[in-house]
Symmetry: C2
Subunit: 247 residues, 2 copies
């Protein structure tokens, strides 16, 4: 009997029951709980397991169908469409495409927007430049096997990396874009990980259901001489990705 069976649902919490159930089912799928026949238990069984009404289970399933996680077939059952999570490695040599090489065939980055602006205090401190110094900000989306995985905002010192937006747009790779600007190699100096509910803009870009959770990684990359080259905040869809830190 899975752990789901006993744990009762929380009520009157501001989180609708159907959403709690949807989250649990998605979680279960992500951890391979229904890998046996690739099919969800019948709605009546789920209702009993969670101690709720069948209609509420149906609302949860409807949400997951909308997300593309489940596919119901009348008379046959409800089948699982997508399965396990990607594991994204974080190390001194963190690179997006390399990290998912064994897990996804297609891995690409898209440039959503870019701007030249002045550094905020936070960005200035991270990049080791003066406040209000010019920086270039990139808004990027990373996909694996056609599925959005992460949404990042990156800052670069404007003078040193003047053409970084074009370089990224054409290559889809930060590594390549930095190489074009004379950075043959770079290292991950620090990564701070937190989690929160996704904001509405990220919901749209990452094709997430409202209320979804994102893992937030705030990172600094430096060149071999230790000079900061890239400061970034990356939001990962928490139900599609986990982060792996190797020591």
């Amino acid at each position: 009997m899975p752990a789901n069976a006993v744990r009762p649902m929380e009520r009157k919490t501001g989180i609708a029951l159907w959403r709690q159930v949807a989250d649990r089912i998605r979680q279960g799928i992500g951890s391979g709980e229904f890998d046996g026949d690739g099919r969800l238990p019948p709605e009546t069984a789920l209702a009993e397991r969670f101690g709720i009404n069948r209609h509420t289970v149906r609302s949860a399933i409807a949400a997951l169908v909308q997300e593309g996680v489940l596919r119901p077939e009348q008379g046959r059952g409800t089948f699982i469409q997508r399965r396990r999570r990607f594991t994204y490695p974080i190390s001194a040599r963190t690179r997006f495409s390399e990290g998912l090489r064994d897990q996804a065939r297609d891995r690409r980055g898209h440039l959503l927007a870019h701007a030249r602006e002045t550094a905020s205090p936070r960005v200035a401190e991270a990049l080791g430049i003066a406040e209000d110094d010019p920086v270039i900000r990139l808004e990027t989306l990373s996909e694996a096997d056609g599925r959005p995985v992460s949404r990042a905002t990156s800052w670069f010192q404007a003078e040193r990396f003047s053409g970084i937006a074009d370089a990224f747009a054409s290559s889809g790779s930060i590594t390549v874009a930095l190489r074009d600007h004379g950075v043959a190699d770079y290292l991950r100096k620090s990564t701070v990980v937190s989690a929160r509910h996704a904001e509405s803009a990220d919901l749209a870009d990452l094709k997430l259901a409202p209320g979804a959770i994102v893992l937030v990684a705030v990172a600094l990359n430096v060149d071999p001489e230790g000079r900061p080259v890239q400061f970034s905040e990356t939001r990962f869809a928490a139900d599609r990705v986990e982060l792996s830190v190797s020591g």
Copy 2:
């Protein structure tokens, strides 16, 4: 004007508006948004900022008062009770107490429960032992300045660490408990980080509001010879802690 001002709330998502607002306010407090006078803007101003009714704002505030985050005073305003997040460092030498030394005065671990059981496939693989070999499981809670920070489940090989539960119970420290069992030093070999909604048991232990997010760190510690000594899953309250990975 803070970023909160423009972003509209998501509706009809299964997450009540008052809860979304509560999450945003808690988030804002965690990132020092109201550090100026340590006071929340008036309810009417918040209602206008979020584009919602004042009563809904009041529901959100009531939830945060319940959590101990806010303290309202009639006629004066609503004051912030607790502020910033702890930053918990993850590195080859990750230790709970050391990591928070500069951030909290009191740091202690509590033993909630312990059991001798057989290793699940997952635990066996991590500890490098046979399936169904005996292991000792510890359920622990870590606090900083009297506030619960993390809730961990740890597994140890039973023969080598037979008295680990007592050793931890009396010392409140894994480092000390391992030293008692001949492990003078240990290293963090791997850490996998993910995020999800807290389960009800963790809600109670961590004193979290239902629907709260936890950062989940699954880690393996090894002795200097590389032999696994501890496999653990730690749930951090995402609104009180962030994880820092240094490279």
